[in-house]
């Protein structure tokens, strides 16, 4: 089996791992780096449970080959909290009971972060369409959408010049 050495930045730290040519980034994260917070719900890019941010772009880790990660900056759910301090999105998901089983939650949080990184004040419709690639079977999305909107407000509040 041909495996190549991949060097990447994962959650701000340099990592080196061996990747098979046909291995997905998701498998590399989970099996090589043991970052199991990114989940596999489908393996075909239809559920979003493996959402990660690569060079600032939201992608499904199951739809990217591991060797493609060479030289890339990758953000996963494990890096969303800052030194143990929860991100406002994480806070709002907890406060608003925006998760039930919690399996889709890491992907939803990464997708929501990518949205708020771009659009600090999204409408409900923008949130819903942006998150359409993240299937949640438990919540009916109501509390998820509210949590994202409220986290956006929290972020705007905290970044407003005083």
């Amino acid at each position: 089996m041909s495996r190549t050495v991949v060097n990447a930045m994962v959650n701000g730290e340099p990592v080196e791992f061996l990747a098979g040519g046909g291995q997905s980034l998701l498998d590399a994260l989970r099996d090589e780096l043991r970052l199991t917070g990114s989940k596999e719900g489908c393996g075909t890019g239809d559920c979003g449970a493996c959402s990660v941010i690569v060079d600032g772009r939201l992608v499904c880790a199951c739809l990217m080959l591991a060797p493609e990660a060479e030289g890339k900056r990758i953000e996963t759910i494990e890096g969303l909290a800052d030194n143990g301090h929860l991100h406002p999105l994480q806070h709002q998901f907890l406060e608003q009971a925006a998760l039930q089983c919690g399996f889709c939650t890491p992907g939803l949080l990464m997708a929501a972060k990518a949205l708020l990184d771009r659009n600090p004040d999204p409408t409900e419709s923008e949130v819903r369409y942006w998150l359409a690639g993240n299937i949640c079977r438990c919540t009916g999305y109501d509390k998820v959408v509210r949590a994202v909107m409220d986290a956006a407000a929290d972020l705007r509040q905290s970044e407003r010049p005083r």
């Binding site: 969303l80 907890l94 039930q100 919690g102 399996f103 889709c104 369409y129």
Partner: protein
Amino acid sequence: MSDGNQGGINLKVVGSRPVRPDGVDKVTGRAQFGADFHLPGMLTGRIKRSPHAHARILKIDASAALALPGVKAVVTSSDFASDATGEIEAGEGHAAIQEIAANCLAKGRVLYQGHAVAAVAATQPEIADEALELIEVTYEVLPHVIDVEAAMAADAPVLHEDMFTKGVTPKPAHASNVAAKHVMGRGDVAAAFNAADLIVEGRYETAAVHQGYIEPHACVASWGADGQSTIWCSSQGQFVIRAMVAKILNMPLSDIKVIPAEIGGGFGGKTTVYLEPVALALSRKCGRPVKIVMSREEVFLASGPTSGAVIDVRLAVRKDGRITGAELTLKYQAGAFQGSPVNLGLMTAFACYDVEALALTGYDVVSNRPKVAAYRAPGAPMAAFAVESAIDDLATRLGMDPIDLRILNAVRDGAKTVYGATVKHAALVETLEAIKASPHYQAPVAKGCARGVAAGFWFNVGGESSAAVHVDEDGGVTVVSSNPDIGGSRASMAMMAAETLGLPIERVRCTVADTTSIGYSGVTGGSRVTFATGMAVVEAAQKVVADLKRRAAATWECDVAMVEWKDGAATCTDPSKDVKPLSIKALAGKSAKTGGPIAAEVSLNAQGAAAGYGVHVCDLQIDAETGRSMVTRYTAAQDVGRAIHPAYVEGQLQGGAAQGIGWALNEEYVYGKSGLLENAGFLDYRMPVASDLPMIDTILVEAKPNPRHPYGAKGVGEVPIVPPLAAVGNAVSRIVGRRMSSLPLSPAKVLAAMGK
């Protein structure tokens, strides 16, 4: 059993909305789900599945696979115990263990595409994949049958040559695909129809739908040389997994330890085994831990769904709108093995209504589809779709408001159900009235939209549960639950313990124990956990309080009757004693001197679960040129007893509504002519995504707390999937201008019905 502590007086924790104890793990990626475990030396297991809908297995040759370097074991059904017999509780029904085993690994015949035939364990996933291709299975392809009425036909290919319809006398002369006929009823139905001013009738169809949990089935099994084994898996009940694996592999229960992983959704679909006995059989053969994770395609092909159904309904009605009699025939797909929830369909179909005469018939029918598994209120949504559609037709014919018509016929306390129970603590009328008064129902229907309403019922159950409460040395508390936390139950367990102990919620944590660390419990299913396991938690907490009071009395040298427990501390009511209250912290710190560790465990069989009722209203618009529907506004009201954690109760209503909307509009199993599933993936199965839905407003009706639960809880999880099929269908039918009786209400079907 405790009947006290009721009335909602001065509840401090119950009814509030704290952060769940396991929340941080689940928003940071730390929570370990079924596929997240890794053991040294672990092998990858993969399953060889049938490419045919129906075939005889002539030969399985694994020699080439076993010769491949890195392959450590191959198993087939011959590795399962051949003498395992008996029935086992599986979710919300019973199943014969031989059939569960034959579903995990086919015996003699494959009965559906994706039916497991053999399994392999290898050192690398790639090797396991290659080995699968090297396992040679020789089949004799047999004729297949997919749809329920086709499977009932006299000339249909028969799946099980030993299946003679149960419930028919005399015993049928020929084997058939009708596993059982169920008959239920009361009163003089013929007289009711003879005397009726109005008869409403219809024929309805619903498609097979999958639970659609996002986490595929996953487990790790590790067999020890002395037979003692450990299984890590995501399931709705570690004890039921243990029971099934033990029977299938002929092992003593105490030799199997099942450690529950976090569970990424189940909705009933994780109350049985698919992988666990296979993984343990592989591990037993090679002595190494084996991990098996299903792909999404395997989940669709070989787990889950619930029955598609064909339903005939007739209502006999007086001109004032009172329903006096009804006939109902349910034909439910069971999948490849008997055991559809048709009986539950019969029991729930008219449970919302006080109908004097009922004649209900149900057929449990096998066909070449995956064996059905429990799905949220199993059997009820399909029957309710038919009955609630018929009632909507009735409202239209009478020119009555659909809520008023339902209030007129609604079941009230004291009524008898068709299955013999007496209705108690029912708040259906209050729930209907809540919807009627809601801002949504009061608002005019927006231009271009239509509105549908429907009601629904679920029994909710109690049953066997265990829980422990441990007081830590610093006065904090750990609650040990016996049920996997599928949607926030750790929070409700901790809250009920905190309430009973008088502690702030932050001082109470909750863990879910493995099968060796807590007493037996049934599955997380039947909407039973907050009720039954919650009752065990409260009773354990009450025992701890009694113990704390005893210790305080001993400290104060007073009669324990003079000790009160209030706000997390013992106070002395003996006027002769001048003592300060003793907090739980103070008592815990001195526990070694007052009798040792403070803890209590309770195992019970909870009785008195109260049924729940829901009423939903749906506004929807249709693009008249394409037939595409869009739900624009939705409200769900439910009789919840008392909500322990209202946000998670609302979440149950919202999630159930979303699943039901998917069932109504898009979800279905699509089969081709060769009996193969054409949409085994999320792409073409089409579950609702965030942009498909509006906010889902909720109304928690707390008019009738359940007096049999210490804090008044009723089960809440299943009711909300019962009304949406008809709520959506009734709205669509109103726009189309004719009754839409076949789910899903896909754009093509709607456009055709609109005559375009």
